[in-house]
Assembly symmetry: C2
Homo-oligomer: 336 residues x 2
DNA sequence: TTGTAGGCGTTATCAG
DNA sequence: CTGATAACGCCTACAA
């Protein structure tokens, strides 16, 4: 026996498919008794309305997509959690796509999504240095989307980020206040939005403190662990920084690992602070000072904007920038 | 203008819908020239075959579901990564459901999935102490599923786990070899599969070392942070263990946090080892000794079993248990 | 190689 | 309150 459909159920009950269908919609009128009878029989036979048929009929999927660069990352898992919560409360399902920071995969996912699979998209982008024309399919299909944390400057949509400039300034300032005179800034790519803005905060803080910014102290890293270690080594021994400000968690971790290997004492020899959503930052050796973004809220906020647009039947989200506050948590790694 | 469908495209080209459809299927024959023309026009108009219509027609969704208890957890993110890799290579999409360790949400998700949304399910379960009848809808719908890491004893399906008994035995033995005579075992729920099997490994190792197992040293914790701390405090000061074996990562972290607060020195006062997939276990204070499961491989293996079943058109997965090897990594927290 | 036609399962509309 | 019908968009026999 194959899976039961509405027709079988209707026949079994001596009713029409329309009546059965009505038992499953909230609105249409139907006698309480019949409804009861139908639902019981449905439960007994294991009937559930076929999702794809319903979606086809209604031209909607009640599904959104989330596109993120990484997965095993506290910021994203918390943000996704926030998104999911809002999505569920709106009765929506969630499809997660992980690009592994690969711009081509991102483009492929977006293309794939264009088939009507989802009604909206939340994304944190991976390929700022490339062309973003592929996002056009979303516009063409009237699929609204929202950026969170990482966005494309040249694409219009709501962007939800933390107050990166201010917290970057504050973090740098914090190191300087604790005696640092040569703070290095670690960044994955200083030309992408997130690296750029945080860089600006760092530079301004250095300048405002009356120190001379040194280009060499802006250390560009990659996503490759080996390569990162190499850059760190070279930077540390050539430039002799006394403080490190990591623009993303991974680089703060890399700095820690490097110091552990080399026997560099934190904070005595080198003070460290970094953007991070790590819940166990306090258990590291030593406790890592962090700038912590409101990841969950960022996700939830971005989702809320998306569902607003969906509810209003908008084809895109407003071209505006929403900023939430990060907090700076001082721990042992950065204080004298 | 609304989204283009196959009919509009066909009209525009002066072709029939069947011909257009053929251009998008690999198999059916069609002249290379027409196909080319169709694909170009499709790209220009932004046409893509509607997913829901195709799925309805074909009665398949090329989508699987992953159900996990938690999300912000290294084991699961790595396992999910492994699953996604296999899924993508099979051309499948992935829907992730997070239960937050809530059995009712799990049941709700499963019910929800029964509408034909997915062709198969991979799950790590949350509600072992309850009834599992709700999984019947999957059987009824011929949706095969595979358990990974956490499973239900009373439900038949392939289970993919690590060799938990052996590594639990080894971890306990390791503490004893390092001088512990009173090893406490931390568990969330000692009656569920994962807690039970690991408990057995612990007990056997204690006995085989000629020590007297002490029921009180098996400390049952909950998922609540406050509550965990309370139990740890009571256990530590009343029982004076000299070693802790945490059956899950969260409890190892809780133990660390407790020791930090109380000024208990690890490993001098208390040695610690725990199941964990934490990538920065070496950066903790002190470096945490771990039993690390092959998370990625477990996910990938489970997914492979599922796709095998799908490919063969099976209605369920074989009732067998696949075991992968965990590794024990000694760091500072457990050695003299 | 291309076109015709019917149906996948559901639900909104209209009629009774 | 219930039933018949058509359409959502696509794909595959079958016919030409």
């Amino acid at each position: 026996m194959d899976t039961v459909n509405i027709k079988m159920l209707a026949e079994r009950l001596g009713l029409s498919t329309s009546t059965v269908s009505r038992a499953f919609r909230g609105n249409s009128d139907i006698s309480a008794k019949t409804k009861q009878r139908i639902l019981e029989a449905a439960a007994a036979m294991g009937y559930q309305p076929n999702l794809y048929a319903s979606n086809l009929r209604d031209r909607k999927s009640r599904t959104i997509a989330i596109i993120v660069p990484e997965f095993a990352n506290n910021f994203f898992s918390q943000a996704i959690h926030g998104i999911e919560k809002v999505a569920r409360s709106n009765g929506y399902h969630t499809l997660i796509y992980v690009t592994d920071d690969d711009y081509e995969r991102e483009a492929a996912f977006v293309a794939d999504i264009g088939n009507g699979r989802v009604e909206g998209v939340l994304m944190s982008v991976s390929g700022e240095e490339y062309q973003h024309g592929y996002l056009g399919v979303l516009a063409k299909r009237n699929i609204p989307f929202v950026f969170f944390d990482r966005y494309y400057d040249d694409v219009q949509a709501t962007r939800v980020t933390a107050n990166d400039y201010a917290s970057s300034y504050a973090a740098t300032r914090h190191l300087i206040d604790n005696g640092c005179t040569r703070v290095a800034y670690l960044v994955v790519n200083k030309h992408v939005s997130i690296g750029k803005i945080r860089l600006q905060g760092y530079l301004d803080a250095v300048r405002d403190a009356g120190q001379q910014p040194d280009d060499a102290l802006v250390v560009e890293c990659t996503n490759d662990r080996q390569e990162i270690e190499h850059r760190l080594r070279s930077a540390y021994y050539n430039l002799r920084p006394d403080g490190i400000f990591a623009s993303v968690e991974r680089l703060a971790i890399a700095a820690y690992r490097f110091c552990h290997q080399e026997g560099i004492a934190i904070p005595a020899d080198l003070k460290v602070i970094g953007f991070s959503s790590l819940e166990i930052a306090d258990l590291l050796n030593p406790g890592l000072s962090t700038v912590t973004q409101p990841a969950f809220d960022m996700g939830a906020t971005a989702a809320t904007v998306l569902f607003d647009a969906l509810a209003k039947g908008l084809k895109s989200t407003p071209d505006e920038h929403i900023t939430l506050e990060s907090i700076l948590i001082e721990r042992e790694s950065s204080v004298t």
